[in-house]
Subunit: 246 residues, 2 copies
């Protein structure tokens, strides 16, 4: 499809439930679930995973696992029993993911992927791939919709903070983007967050939940920029590594 001629717009949607209101046929949709699904997905591709199949339910993930596929499943921040992975990035570090196809279901991130699957293009974003992602988005010259997975369809602070970071990075690279109201708000939010994102999230509901579960190390990892240059992209219902040479 040709590049769009309309002004380049950046907007943000705070819940997969709200996605139908924002859906259009032009925008690249960035799926955001920084604590931890999209960070884990980027990590898996960085370690050489061939393909990840996001599914909405634990049952679907189990059915794929039964065919011999590796499978990850998380609900309420905990790895579901019987699966190879949860959604900790640390689960996906190492040779065991190399060249593998992995089914994955999570509380929020895979729901956002499902909601947006018919968009013009769907990619996965996290602090761990933010610079590569923003460089690519700017080069694409297309409107961008930042789809925050939130928590069970509610707004959450970590995904919106990351959407603010992407907004800021895109504006830095191309000041002619036109921001929707959500991105205007997120830009202010990120200005507050950026000096110490970990501290900024101190009262966020999901960070509290993860800290109770002993997952502070995961949070620290997920807030580190540029651990990888891979950009996962959804093609025919499966995530693969975006081929940057195309």
């Amino acid at each position: 499809m040709a590049e769009t001629t309309s002004p380049l717009k950046i907007d943000a949607c705070f819940s997969p439930y709200l996605y139908p209101v924002y859906a259009d046929s032009e925008s690249i949709v960035v799926i955001i679930d920084v604590l931890r699904a999209t960070s884990a997905i980027c990590t898996a591709f960085h370690y050489g995973a061939a393909k990840m199949i996001p599914v909405a339910t634990v049952e679907e993930a189990r059915a794929l696992q039964a065919t011999g596929m590796l499978a990850g499943a998380e609900r309420d921040a905990i790895k579901v029993e019987g699966f190879d992975f949860g959604n900790s990035p640390y689960d996906y570090m190492g040779d065991h993911v190399k060249d593998q196809t992995i089914a994955i279901t999570t509380t929020n991130g895979t729901q956002a992927l499902e909601a947006a699957k018919n968009a013009y293009k769907v990619v996965v974003g996290a602090f761990t791939n933010i610079s590569a992602l923003c460089n690519w988005l700017v080069a694409e010259k297309r409107p961008v919709l930042l789809l925050c997975s939130g928590w069970k369809n509610r707004f959450n602070l970590e995904d919106s903070m990351f959407a603010g970071a992407v907004t800021q990075e895109l504006i830095n690279r191309n000041p002619s983007y036109k921001m929707g109201d959500a991105c205007l708000a997120l830009q202010y939010l990120y200005q507050q967050a950026q000096t110490d994102p970990y501290k900024f999230l101190s009262r966020a509901s999901h960070k509290e939940r993860m800290a109770r579960l002993g997952l502070k190390k995961d949070i620290r990892f997920c807030l580190q920029h540029d651990q990888t240059t891979v950009i996962p992209v959804l093609v025919n219902g499966a995530l693969v590594k975006l081929d940057m040479k195309k």
Copy 2:
């Protein structure tokens, strides 16, 4: 109904479309459409309106007008032809509204009222009644859900800014409220906005739209705190003035 015993929660919902995700049986819902529906509704009651009947469609408003009732209708920031009022607060200032029942339909605010109509209690908030509203909310000792009308179900900057102001005012009066992630974000947003809310909104999509239509005077009015102490409340599908003595 007795006061709730669960911790007092404040949360915010950025779109009527998203309301089902936030709905519960405990919370007082504050309907927010500061530019301009909820500001206009507060103004009408301040000038002695007896009752306002929010309806979702222009046709319903026209049908009520045909019965002899006064009626207001706005779409895309413009008064609909043939109606007594649009949604400018200035339309509702004066003796012509005293003791009247007024049907009203607007692009966003009346949609939020419709979405939340089955909540525990539904009240109308605007900068024009913010102190009275917050004093009453704190005295009620109930969880609060701030329902931003947004713009055609999308997030908007002015309603979220106001929701941030209410969050701040409630926390100032009772620091034990537990904020949802949306309110945490809004508190930061309002800290940025409060020194000059008019300037803060300078790039907001709806303010641009209103400025093009010559409505800067309306915006200035809607951003002024405490023009009234009335709190409109939804009772059996109609807004009436809350009886503070009860």
